[in-house]
Symmetry: C2
């Protein structure tokens, strides 16, 4: 049998567990050109909150009763695509379920001997590529510039800061709580990390950025962006990669003095990583090399059991994960 987690109701504000439902259906048989896969790992990412809304976006919403979407690392069970055989480990959109049918051309084979397969969902996957493209192509960091990155211990933020260090920048993270902040400085090598929950957050951030801020890599929005705003230097780049504070309508739009965009000649730019696949090879080459050389580290937060995916995803939206959130589906 195949367990699926489906969207039961469109969330109002933060999702509740009752917005999801688990159903069991028979495992399907692959047609010609299809591959039946068993899900090993499911990636949980903030963008999924947007897919739960019935609003215009860059991707269609998950319909009510539809299986929640998500990237997976899976094992091929039965293949009717000549490019795959049983036992192959593949990256694809297997979604929130035990088994998936996918066409071969949507899959990429992984080599478990070369790297832990979960990294294909994180540091060498979509979050890593977001960090790479957002920082390098949109942020365009120059040596000695100051980069601020929010959600600094997360899948994207942790890599943004480490790449910025490699590029010679001063890097200040923003994260929630002492443990994450210590990790960001002690393990990842950021120059500083400020707890956005602290009472003196804004003042502490300003003290950590004595030369102002040249690049703000934004994963959060809300009060975090509002605190960075007055610190931005002339010609600052604000890279909008994520706005998790706003995904649940829990945070009003931050009040940003637009005059600063003009007077200080800011560039704000939002991006969606799937528009930037032209850079996939560069990203994989560089990040794989940095990993081999020990110049970047990553951290995974692995939750066991598909049935815990809704709870884990809700936790992600509250910042309760610590590192790239992944569900181990095949136990």
């Amino acid at each position: 049998m195949n367990r699926q987690i489906r969207l039961a109701a469109r969330p109002v504000g933060f999702p509740k567990e009752s917005d999801f439902e688990m159903v069991e259906i028979p495992v399907a048989e692959p047609s010609e050109g299809e591959v039946l896969t068993r899900t090993l790992f499911l990636s949980l990412d903030p963008y999924m909150r947007g897919r739960m809304n019935d609003t215009r976006s860059y991707s269609p919403p998950v319909p009510i009763g539809g299986v929640m979407v998500g990237r997976t690392v899976s094992e091929v069970v039965t293949s009717r695509d000549p490019g795959f055989t049983a036992g192959d480990v593949v990256l694809g959109f297997g979604n929130w379920q035990d088994y998936a049918l996918m066409t071969g051309k949507t899959l990429r084979k992984l080599d478990p001997a070369s790297a832990p397969v979960t990294t294909a969902l994180g540091v060498v996957g979509m979050p890593g590529q977001s960090a790479y493209v957002g920082l390098l192509d949109i942020g365009q960091p120059q040596p000695t510039e100051t980069v601020v990155v929010s959600a600094a211990s997360g899948a994207v933020g942790s890599l943004v800061g480490q790449i910025a260090k490699i590029k010679g920048c001063r890097v200040v993270g923003i994260a929630g709580g002492d443990a994450k902040c210590r990790y960001v400085v002690d393990e990842l090598g950021f120059d500083a990390c400020i707890d956005h929950r602290a009472a003196d957050f804004g003042a502490a951030l300003a003290r950590a950025c004595p030369e102002g801020v040249d690049i703000n890599f934004e994963n959060v929005g809300g009060a975090v962006l509002q605190a960075v705003w007055p610190l931005l230097n002339d010609f600052a780049r604000v890279v909008i990669c994520g706005l998790i504070a706003h995904y649940n309508d829990a945070t009003p739009a931050p009040i940003l003095d637009l005059r600063a965009v003009l007077i200080k000649r800011f560039t704000l730019r939002g991006f969606i990583i799937t528009d930037h696949n032209v850079r996939l090879d560069d990203f994989q080459r560089d990040v794989s090399a940095w990993l081999r050389e020990g110049r970047i580290k990553y951290r995974e937060d692995i939750v066991d059991g598909l049935e815990h995916a809704p709870e884990a995803f809700i936790g992600l939206l509250h910042g309760r994960n610590f590192g790239k959130l992944i569900v181990r589906v095949a136990l």
Copy 2:
């Protein structure tokens, strides 16, 4: 004697006439390398409001008691720079006064036979260059795209729209009142122009942009920007050239849903034209050619008498001018 208009007090909100004072002092004598000029025309521009504040900006503020700054078209009276002789007509920063001492290297000679000299303050001057660089370099218009430009009958907006038409765009202006809107459509050739004072402004703007908006060339901010925001298409460019609604602290920051920056991959960018002098020759060549070919038109709003400059400048901030605002100083 030389009449000067000086900054008497830093304005709170909209400037009042009492924030300026006129004084008369003897005309100064030029030192070696200097040129004594008599002001023919003084340009009044929204950026001057920023110079009246004692806040960090891209240029230092005018000190209390200092002469208000401004570009001028002037006639050389006495020259101690071998590059200039009495009678030459020059463009420079002569400021709000009858006579100015300027060093020769800050001046550019104008040829009154080739074009009306006032155009050096408008369509072929700083406002024109702002339109050219902001639209072409920052906005990057493509044929058939929709461009919305606010303050559409003004010195910058009127040229933005006409260049966008030359580039094959659909162009929708925003202006204050029927007369300006009619001028923008009937004389300048925009596809539509919407009165931002009309009760149904937002709905009318949406109707005028059936394919959405690809470029918003923003001169105003406030409610005008807020009305354009939901109409912006994927990959829209928001060019922040001016934010006159905010210069007098009369308008709160508009509430802009930042999620649209991410989901629709907007680019917002502010610019100050003096950073873009590398494009000065291209601008002058292209706009001069378009003027000769009759492909662009311009309108000047000329006020007689230096003593009326404060009143005219205050009117500019309220949108009471109609076309490029210039003071004829030498009557």
